[in-house]
């Protein structure tokens, strides 16, 4: 279960030291594991993966240089729900903007070019029946955000009733999406609920610097 001696774990970009990484036998590369609310950007030939229920992940990279990464977030429920689009600056939207800007800015800061960005979207599943479709809300936000930024989604696998595991290789742009069986639903819902509580307790404040 250990990498061949020739493969040393590549250094992370400063600021991402806390992201847990390990050798993956399946993909024969180092892999970074994202929890809800985290993001990761790399210049190395490694993959980043996460599991998604109703949360959403944007996978973004500079398709020329191969610098890229992934985020994992959901919109907190905001008071006066449904108005995020009209109000524009509700706390929910601010949180979503924050997650998207962090990822994009980090890519640009490390040499990515805006005109080369390629975006892929995953998640937003409806894994609990009879609940307001929070997955769809996350999908709608992400699509809207990307369009507003003048970017284009080149591929996506969103919605539906399944949780997913997404493995992304920024260097090549390759993505592997695996639908997860319902055995995992409750565990994923619990993780996402904890995350949701944590972001509702700590609202995002302040402006985000745009490049």
């Amino acid at each position: 279960m250990s990498p061949p001696p020739a493969y040393r774990m590549p250094l992370p970009i400063p600021g991402f030291e806390h992201i847990r990484r390990a050798w993956s036998d399946t993909y024969e590369t180092y892999s970074a594991r994202l929890n809800p609310g985290e993001y990761y950007v790399t210049k190395n030939d490694e993959c980043v993966y996460t599991t998604l229920g109703s949360c959403i992940s944007a996978c973004i990279r500079d398709k020329v240089s191969g610098i890229g990464g992934m985020n994992h977030f959901m919109l907190p429920a905001s008071s006066g729900d449904g108005s995020w689009k009209a109000a524009g600056l509700s706390s929910a939207t601010r949180y979503g903007n924050f997650a998207m800007e962090h990822l994009i800015n980090e890519i640009l800061k490390n040499g990515g070019q805006r005109q080369n960005l390629e975006v892929k979207l995953f998640g937003g599943g409806r894994i609990i029946a009879n609940m307001t479709d929070v997955g769809m809300r996350n999908i709608a936000f992400a699509r809207d955000y990307i369009q507003t930024e003048g970017l284009r989604v080149t591929s996506e696998d969103v919605g539906d009733i399944f949780p997913r595991m997404v493995v992304y290789f920024p260097a090549s742009g390759r993505v592997r999406v695996k639908r997860l069986r319902s055995l995992h639903n409750n565990t994923i819902v619990e993780q996402e609920t904890q995350y949701l509580h944590s972001i509702e307790e700590k609202p995002v404040s302040g402006d985000i610097e745009l490049f």
Binding site: D25, F162, M165, K178, R179, H184
Partner: protein
């Protein structure tokens, strides 16, 4: 401190009891002096099983041409051995309601089991050489050890599930369980099946569905349940790509005489058409 396998199952056999009608049918079938009308009488004493039995006998599940309107007729057409299987299959979910858990919904659990059961039956019908209806019941019960683990060892069970989700390498659930607990759901299920004195074929399928090579007396049935289990994972997430699920043991293909090309996607398409009706037949009110 680690709970031993023996402690775990000893504890449970009091909480989960086999359906009365199954126990009585079992006793009758082992009694050389009993006859078909004794069996029909025993079945009739359980009105809800009688209703289910007649409903199943008249459904597409059997596809009989004549109407089965009496228990006597059902017993003689369906066969005594199969009546025992049905008594177990139609009420086992009820028996396990006494073992609730917070990790997995019972509905999801039994849906996977039923997918596996239907697929195992389809595979058995294709290969011939074994009792397709008995294989159905074996497959329906293959994961019962999971319900024991979820109820009795929820912390460890959760740790195992988190390990699976945390691994980019698609760690199978039973391997994660072994790493956390030192045993997995197939060992627990096998113990329980032994304590219940289930037929030996069922015991072997429950014990070895992740370890086909270990089957002693019923390698063919075990191989079919193993293959059906992986196909059920595919059916659950509506995929027809074998790369999306753990690998099927090549030994299982050899023993069963089946090949991936001949069963995928044909059986998957077939099972999707059956599942809703059969779920209602077996688990519906």
């Amino acid at each position: 401190m680690q709970t031993s396998l023996d402690e775990l199952t000893k504890d449970v056999s009091g909480l989960v009891t086999l359906p009365d009608v199954f126990v009585r049918i079992n006793r009758l079938l082992e009694d050389p002096d009993s006859n078909i009308s004794d069996l029909a009488k025993t079945v009739s004493q359980d009105p809800s099983f009688t209703v289910r039995l007649l409903r199943i006998a008249n459904s597409a599940f059997y596809g009989l041409s004549s109407t089965v309107d009496t228990v006597n007729k059902a017993v003689s057409i369906i066969g005594t051995g199969q009546i025992r299987n049905l008594a177990l299959a139609t009420s086992v979910a009820h028996s396990f309601a006494g073992l609730p858990n917070t990790l997995v919904s019972m509905e999801h659990f039994w849906r996977h089991s039923l997918y596996c059961a239907l697929l195992a039956r389809l595979l058995a019908q294709r290969t011939g050489g074994c009792d397709a209806d008995a294989v159905f019941t074996a497959a329906l019960l293959h994961d019962i050890g999971e319900l024991v683990i979820f109820n009795r060892l929820p912390e460890q069970a959760k740790e195992a599930l988190l390990m699976v989700l945390d691994s980019a390498d698609e760690l199978p659930v039973h391997i994660a369980e072994q790493q956390v607990m030192g045993f997995d759901h197939s060992h627990v299920g096998a113990k329980l099946a032994q304590q219940w004195q289930l037929p030996p074929m069922l015991c072997e399928c429950i014990a070895h569905h992740h370890d086909v090579g270990a089957a002693r007396h019923f390698p063919r049935e075990v191989a079919l349940v193993h293959i059906a289990n992986i196909l059920a994972l595919m059916a659950e997430v509506h995929t027809t790509d074998l790369a999306d699920v753990p690998a099927i043991d090549p030994h299982a293909w050899t023993v069963s005489g089946l090949t991936a090309e001949t069963v995928v996607p044909a059986t998957l398409e077939e099972v999707q058409q059956e599942i809703d009706d059969v779920e209602h037949l077996f688990f519906g009110g």
